[in-house]
Symmetry: C2
């Protein structure tokens, strides 16, 4: 079996070149261009084996895809368009080249679909497989999306269902199972696994939203992505903007068939706290939210209180601030 | 003892804010500006405990300093000026806050001295302390320094002595000792330790060189930094540029007193292969090299052969391509 130790650093650099932007590898740093009139956007994420992925739940192609997708999702959350990524890898000497090649295939595939290219990186020996990605993007100054700019009276929207990634993980870890279920449920279960392994950064929603906003006009949009859970995103935006929110329980888009498989309480819990769905959570002027019908789902409104309430016909309860704990 | 697990991710973000660019932390990504007419330069490095540093040889302040210095050195090697860095950290739950605070102190101190600020990052649980830094810089298109642009007849220069970092490591690991040596040697030994723990990125040389070149004039400069060893840098430049080099052994600047302590052969070996001195190795037009007298040391010339030769009065030998092996 060919390992990274057999190949050595110079050999690895040669082997990964086909996955990288032509001409970008081989100097101490890479050179890129930010378009005139644009600002630079930068975000870094680190994925670590056993903490963020394992061979049991995530094949190397998916590790690469997810690592890039998580970073591109952060760019989307800022309203930016991708320029490129750097990839610093920590690898045990015994890591197989086949694993690494699939990792690069996954990263390159996600970049090909969503924009950007690998422009640099680093290899290091490590006890655990470690993937540290920095993504670079650009935006016009008026297009930046922050967490702290929500105001009372905005529509709170999400770009897709929540809880699917957590459900996919549960399936992969045999925490739940769908054996013997009908075909539709089995097909739905496959989409949960895919949501966990190869999430889609919602750059498409940003592009669509831009196309609806007249160039030069300043439309206040607040938001972030839901990588640490929907409840966390709602809480972060509310807290940063010093607004409250009423979120209507029945409007939360859940993955089809999930409630039937795990029960409505578990499905709701995963939707709120599961994390890693990589959708966008945005506060928009109601008029813009209406024009985005079919692309986003309105789940509530901002108000001048100081709490995020989950409301429905029967009861109202405050959303606690639970999230994926990193330590 | 207060650990990172006690503090949690949100608490850590609050605690490191004083070390970061004001206003840059708190969104999914940071926003920066590249000056008009400038290109963006980006480089990533990963430092891992037991591979690149250990408590025995590198206190946390120095781990932070070195991690930033290594990245700024890559920017200097491209001819760029720093804009900022992102810092992704992998930490065991038991990591003490005091360790982390000193790490940030070291990073901030190096940035304060040499330019740039911490603009973003990520925390993750990990088995080994892992520091992944991405540095961003900018340059005017004509100022970029590449490895592949050397031509025959240029002066090969270095910006300082080589071997000091390796000698400092040897002292810290008790591989060599200077007990009972005279005061001058003891003082020199302290500079070797400092060279290992807190190397200086040579952005000053780039700034000085720019001040000597008329704005708008295109002067061909090739080069890289010597982080993986002087021999490696010479070999990489020669190989990328398809030139040969004659390097004059007696002109190689060694750290004062090193030959006396470890013998001339060991000193030469460390100068060529020790690595991590983070000086610049440049190929310059001879006229420019002459104007940089006192700032750089001319160690040889490029030629149209295909080998890098170490020459002196007695003998000539080819420099083999040994370097710090990452796996």
């Amino acid at each position: 079996v060919l390992t990274v130790a057999d190949i050595g650093e110079q050999g690895l650099i040669e082997r990964i070149k086909p996955f990288c932007e032509a001409g970008s590898i081989g100097d101490d740093a890479a050179i890129l261009d930010v378009a005139p009139g644009h600002r630079l956007v930068v975000t870094s994420d680190m994925l670590i084996e056993t903490v963020h992925f394992s061979d049991r739940t995530t094949p190397p192609f998916s590790v690469g895809w997810r690592a890039v997708a998580a970073n591109l999702s952060d760019l989307a959350a800022m309203g930016a368009v991708p320029l490129g990524v750097t990839v610093a890898l920590g690898l045990p000497s015994s890591t197989r080249w086949a694993w690494l090649e699939d990792l690069y295939r996954g990263m390159a595939a996600c970049l090909r679909s969503h924009g950007g290219a690998i422009v640099g990186g680093d290899f290091s020996r490590a006890a655990q497989r470690t993937v540290a990605i920095t993504a670079l993007g650009q935006l016009r100054p008026a297009e930046a999306i922050y967490r702290h700019t929500a105001t009372p009276g905005m529509s709170v929207v999400v770009t897709g269902p929540h809880g699917a990634s957590r459900a996919g993980l549960a399936l992969l870890q045999a925490e739940i199972e769908v054996n013997g279920a009908d075909e539709e449920t089995l097909a739905a279960a496959q989409t949960w696994i895919r949501a966990h392994q190869e999430p889609l950064p919602r750059l498409d929603v940003i592009a669509r939203m831009r196309s609806l906003i007249e160039p030069g006009s300043q439309v206040a949009i607040a938001g972030m992505d839901s990588s640490d859970g929907l409840a966390n995103a709602l809480w972060q935006i509310a807290h940063s903007s010093q607004v409250g929110m009423d979120i209507v329980r029945s409007r939360l888009p859940l993955p089809p068939h999930l409630s039937a498989v795990v029960g409505p309480e578990q499905a709701l819990d995963w939707a709120l706290y599961g994390g890693e769905d990589f959708e966008l959570v945005l506060c928009l002027p109601t008029e813009l939210a209406n024009r985005l019908q079919g692309i986003v789902t309105v789940i509530g409104t901002t108000n001048d209180s100081s709490s995020v309430e989950l409301v429905d016909a029967a009861e109202s309860r405050s959303l606690s601030h639970e999230s994926f704990r990193h330590f």
